[in-house]
Symmetry: C2
Subunit: 283 residues, 2 copies
Amino acid sequence: MAILEVGAVVGLGLIGGSFAQACQGRGLFGALWGVDADPRVLDQALAARAIDRALPGLDGLRDARFVLIATPVGAIVPTVRALVPVLRAGTMLTDVGSVKAPVVRAVDALLPPHLSFVGGHPLAGGEQPGFAAASAGLFEGSRCILTPSASSDPSAVEAVRQIWEALGATVLPMAPEVHDRIVAATSHLPHLVAYALVAAVLAGGGPGAFMCSGGALRDLSRVAKSPPAMWRDIALLNRPRILTALDDFEAALQTIRAALEQGDAAGLHAHLERAWQALASLP
Amino acid sequence: MAILEVGAVVGLGLIGGSFAQACQGRGLFGALWGVDADPRVLDQALAARAIDRALPGLDGLRDARFVLIATPVGAIVPTVRALVPVLRAGTMLTDVGSVKAPVVRAVDALLPPHLSFVGGHPLAGGEQPGFAAASAGLFEGSRCILTPSASSDPSAVEAVRQIWEALGATVLPMAPEVHDRIVAATSHLPHLVAYALVAAVLAGGGPGAFMCSGGALRDLSRVAKSPPAMWRDIALLNRPRILTALDDFEAALQTIRAALEQGDAAGLHAHLERAWQALASLP
């Protein structure tokens, strides 16, 4: 793949920091610059050689040819808006937000034709946030969804695809609305379920109940260690899709509950086995 | 701890097989015998030296001084009943069932005073069943709940405790009813939630949706790979407690859903943060 002279990462948290480390390890950019509101994070990133140059704001990004926006979802569109007067023609932008349609549509409406935006969502992460949790191998073996739109130049889509592939991800192209519907079920719903499960265990047995648990609760509650503010923002941004996923989940749970209430062993077995079979038949 | 001459394991699945392997590795018994309905499993266990002698039925257990019953939950009480005329005075029995009160109460009602039963539930396992998935280290660092009752001689409770501790488990003593209430929330509920979550993802996006997922869905769906028949039986046996746990869970999810529906960012954040805080403050 072509090596771009100057790349930049805006937001050096878990995803942005891991992206920077992974790119530096592979020499994907002639130079990689980092922007973060927190000067301590910039110092950490410089010390880890995740970035070659630290910038406190967006104004210094004029010479960047590629900008990854890895801020919280609510800051992506304002960041693009702030970058428009700064960047030179032909610069490509991409993001890592967990919700795509509202972001992509807003960017499509504001981006001038001389800039290109490719929506992205790496399906990788972890419940520990921040640069301290970042790692160069985070995207190895992961999947990354790209959601090209009217503001995505085909050559920019191809370049962004090659970068993610170079970091070890399998790239899945998808319409932004399809992304938001599927990920509402496969990511946003599981997070809300995990928070609710922790609340239910607390309600039923208090903190001591967590001592009386094995791998099931550990695994099902892990993502409830994720930052609440991040998941509040994601949930509100993808609200209609998540409500539909919650409908599906509540219906499935109600089906299992009804069989249990009625002592319907055959029905209960059939419901559990359908889920079991679905997982067993995955590649 | 005192080494018992002959111990026996009835049911050489994941838990019974792991218990046998762990005991053999530590020489906890002069000889360890195994009973299983499946002759191939007995062959595997002999080949792995998990047992010293294979028995197709319970009749040969007359000389056992300790019997671990590691059958499916529905077979524990019938196994105890079948063992009563076989075993010699002073023999101790224990089990590994995931539901305790109905089992312990039934055993209390049928066990003659010359035998002792100590209900047990190791909080360890995995979604893959069977002897093939067993491992000698399964209980290292785990917790094991014991539920002594009227039929538990104190010396038997102490002996069973020492055996589990020798295998690396921390033993938690508890009344059977307390066990069933807590574990309904910390284990049985998470399993049913996992099956329902898989069903919801299938309903919303079909099998292909599982491709568009990261660690959250992987972790939250893992235990839905557990055998459906086993979880059907556990759920039916602990039905009232699980229905209460489902009430708590549905209430917690409804609280989150209501805040999301109303676009109540502060309320949504407060609900998620309460769960996050609870996990963060666990030891």
